[in-house]
Symmetry: C2
Subunit: 277 residues, 2 copies
């Protein structure tokens, strides 16, 4: 594929196992529940659904969506061959032979116009400098009568106990390594900027949370690893807004959160479903 004239061809956090351990726990049920009724409704009359999963990462949501459309196909894309290989392996391990992968830049998808019945993107727009351009491109490759489903976090809407200063700093810091900290609240605006009419957009919010000892170890551990080793640490130090000592404070805060018996974490995500006309 030709190098596109875009600026967002990197994923800051990187694709190390330590970083994507949380991503790998994502399923269609936990992270794309808002899409499932639409998907199942469409599959009833048209089981051979072509679904594009943009920025699929390790592909656990892709494989999970593929279960719902055994006669259809899921095309998982990302901007790393390494993570796409992992996505394909994961699908095969789940017995989902209806998943294929393709290296693709969301701003110039290597697909013809009107190629897909459903286009899905989870936590992708939050990392883009021009999210409305990505929506336009998703609209281009989606068939008339199809749907586009987009979900992104609002990182301003974290619910955390206990309120350790290091965790509030981390919240700011992780916002800094996205393009828009509260992407979840702006999805309707971005879709309208891409030319979609308000009445063709359904907005909803979804949430997830962690609080049991196992969940705290998984989530707190994944967040701490981002600080210890990976693109987020580099970016924070590079930007000069955070000092090494402050990053160490954040790491210690996650360590403390993990062992705090009454600790909780909740995250709010915006979701839109666009009817393509």
């Amino acid at each position: 594929m030709a190098q596109a004239e875009t600026t967002d061809r990197t994923y800051i956090h990187g694709y190390k196992a330590s970083h994507i351990q949380h991503h790998a726990s994502r399923t269609a049920e936990s992270h794309a529940a808002y899409l499932l009724p639409h998907l199942m409704n469409m599959a009833e009359s048209h089981p051979q659904i072509d679904l594009l999963d943009v920025g699929a990462g390790p592909g656990t949501i892709s494989a999970s969506l593929a279960k719902y459309i055994p006669e259809g196909t899921v095309t998982a894309t990302d901007i790393s061959d390494e993570v796409l290989e992992r996505a394909l392996s994961h699908a095969r391990e789940c017995g989902q032979n209806n998943v294929k992968t393709k290296f693709a830049d969301v701003y110039s998808l290597p697909f013809d116009d009107s190629s897909f019945d459903i286009v899905h993107a989870s936590q992708v727009l939050i990392h883009l400098n021009e999210p409305h351009r990505a929506v336009k491109e998703m609209l281009r490759v989606c068939k008339t009568g199809g749907i586009i489903a987009i979900r992104d976090a609002d990182l301003k809407a974290w619910s955390v106990h206990p309120e350790l200063p290091g965790l509030r700093s981390f919240q700011q810091a992780i916002g800094q390594v996205t393009s828009c900290m509260n992407a979840g609240s702006k999805l309707v605006a971005w879709a309208m900027e891409a030319g979609v009419k308000r009445e063709d957009i359904t907005y909803s919010v979804g949430s997830f949370c962690y609080s049991t000892p196992e969940e705290r170890k998984m989530w707190g551990g994944a967040m701490r690893e981002r600080l210890r080793d990976g693109g987020m640490r580099e970016k924070l130090l590079q930007d000069g807004k955070w000092k090494k000592e402050q990053i160490e404070d954040m790491e210690r805060a996650w360590d403390q959160w993990i062992v705090t018996e009454d600790a909780t974490f909740g995250s709010l995500n915006g979701e839109i479903v666009i009817k393509v006309k």
Copy 2:
């Protein structure tokens, strides 16, 4: 009932129709979905469930819960005879004759020990100075083998677009008229403070959102009315932290939010289910 030795015997917002118009849109499905599987599971083996709904306000969730247990009874309590009358009328209008009401202070519930199978409280602890004492009292009136279900907002976890300064001020201001702005994140902590073991608590988060023209008019209108007329306005002016002009700014911000076509609002709520042993 004797006057209890408590300090939380008022509900700042008051019970005017303009204030509770949002409360009246609440149902079991929209605001107590986390409780429904437990309720239905219990009703299968024991249909005559006695459910206590503490701080039920206009009783729309109470009436909605009562639908699920036609052979059971819902007792709705609050600290205003006026709002309890409304709750009873609402239940009757819905054809739910299995709802009764009782004036009751959550710190000294006028019921014997082990009276109820399920004790439910929605957006109650957020207004209390000693939430763990309320949990203790709810535990007292709940039978062994029963469950307690509590849900409260985390007002720090608002997701709002557009980000008008007046709306962020309002978020601070409404936090100020609660006892704990991020109650939702602290429910596990409060239950443990009341003596419950961590392994007997299930934590989840639920969310709701508004974005369509009708929803914006309803939600934005309800928030604006709190500022124009009611206990919140009085409290804000009394506390001296906010000036009349700032409150007017907040009102204008809601007016603007209502007419903004791509506006969204999302709210995160903490939820716990306690198994009473």
